[in-house]
């Protein structure tokens, strides 16, 4: 799991080249935390600006990485999980 700086409003992420493009990511939405919400990234787009919750789930999916200027907003969770 990736821990997210919840104070960050938006995080820029981009697709990791190679492999099949991710078309769906489930995440826990802070506005509706009791169930999963779904994010459907446009397969034709490479870069996205998304909420911190989506960014964390997208990175965990293995199909995305945080772009350089947003990297400070995502940090490894303590304990190395």
């Amino acid at each position: 799991m990736t821990e997210v700086d919840k104070t960050s409003a938006k995080v820029k992420i981009e697709r990791i080249p190679g492999g099949d493009p991710v078309t769906q990511v489930a995440y826990i939405n802070a506005d509706r935390p009791s169930s999963y919400s779904q994010w459907y990234p446009d397969p034709a787009k490479e870069a996205f600006e998304v909420s911190a919750e989506i960014a964390a789930a997208a990175v965990d999916s293995g199909g995305f990485r945080v772009t350089e200027d947003s990297r400070v907003k995502l940090k490894p969770k303590k304990g190395g999980e």
């Binding site: 492999g19 009791s34 169930s35 779904q38 397969p43």
Partner: protein, 338 residues
Amino acid sequence: MGTPASYKWLIGTIKAEGSFGVAMATADLTDWYKIKEADFSALDTIFESDEDEINGFVGATDYTVQERRGTMARKAKASVELITWALGMMLGNVSSSGATPNYTQTIKWRNVCAVNPPSFSFIEGEDCVGQTATNWLYKGVVINTLTLEFNGKGPGALTLGLMHDGSETAQPSVIFPVAGAAYIVNKLFGYHLTVKLGPLGTEDITPILRSWKMTLNSGIVEPPSMAAGVLVPEYQYGPKNPKIDIEITVKANKAHPIYGYYQASTPTEVKCISALTLTANRSITLTQTKTIVTATAKPVGNEVQLDLKVMEKHNATDGGPGAFVCKTGLANLLTPSP
């Protein structure tokens, strides 16, 4: 009159309710999956009566509807599409990737913070002339149990236990697909199943398989509610649910290594991979990276068999007791409707 054989039901394979109990758009409910029995949705009504009061008579004199909810079953021949839809609808934690026509859904266990399963709506009815009054929409539907079973080479049996919010909404204008226009599925047979079970996860036990059964249970509970109206406002996963049970029967006796895994003073941790594969792009694979297996010997005809039970064990690799990878033609699942 309609007939059981005219029974049809419609779901939206890639759609789900955006909010529990808010009906999906009927335009999204177009997928008719063949099922084996006309299991009409049952409406369960809890009545409050004055039978427990001294009312001057022997029995009750009035009844008030206190609450409504509903249940139904769906029994179908196993297919990649219906199983994938049901897994996504039960667990909610879905990642999809790929491009037309081949996609991959990775479906994992719910996060401990997730309380509510996804929900969906569906329409059922008897598709006969003059029977539009049998067409009803059900909403707030969750999947409580999923059972998938293979015995020998035959088609797999998929059974779903569903619960709805207790409402029934007439849909007289719905048009069901004509006969022959059922949703196109890839059916799964016993000979599509391979199972690897052992410390390495490469030990193929497919040649000695006799039967394989998976049971998923969300342990759905309806918390006490004082929300307005008589319908169910929320279904929740039961505590420590969903749970998974895998029961396998193999042609083997106590000399088989699997019995040794179980018999060891410290039972051997094993990896179990159950794969249903039609083609490279249409398959369902369940991986249980770290688990414990029990084994019981029994006589069947002229052979000795071991009944195996793969015990549920959370592991970090799978993010739960197991993870499903489904290769389908579905770009994604659980798109909110409307």
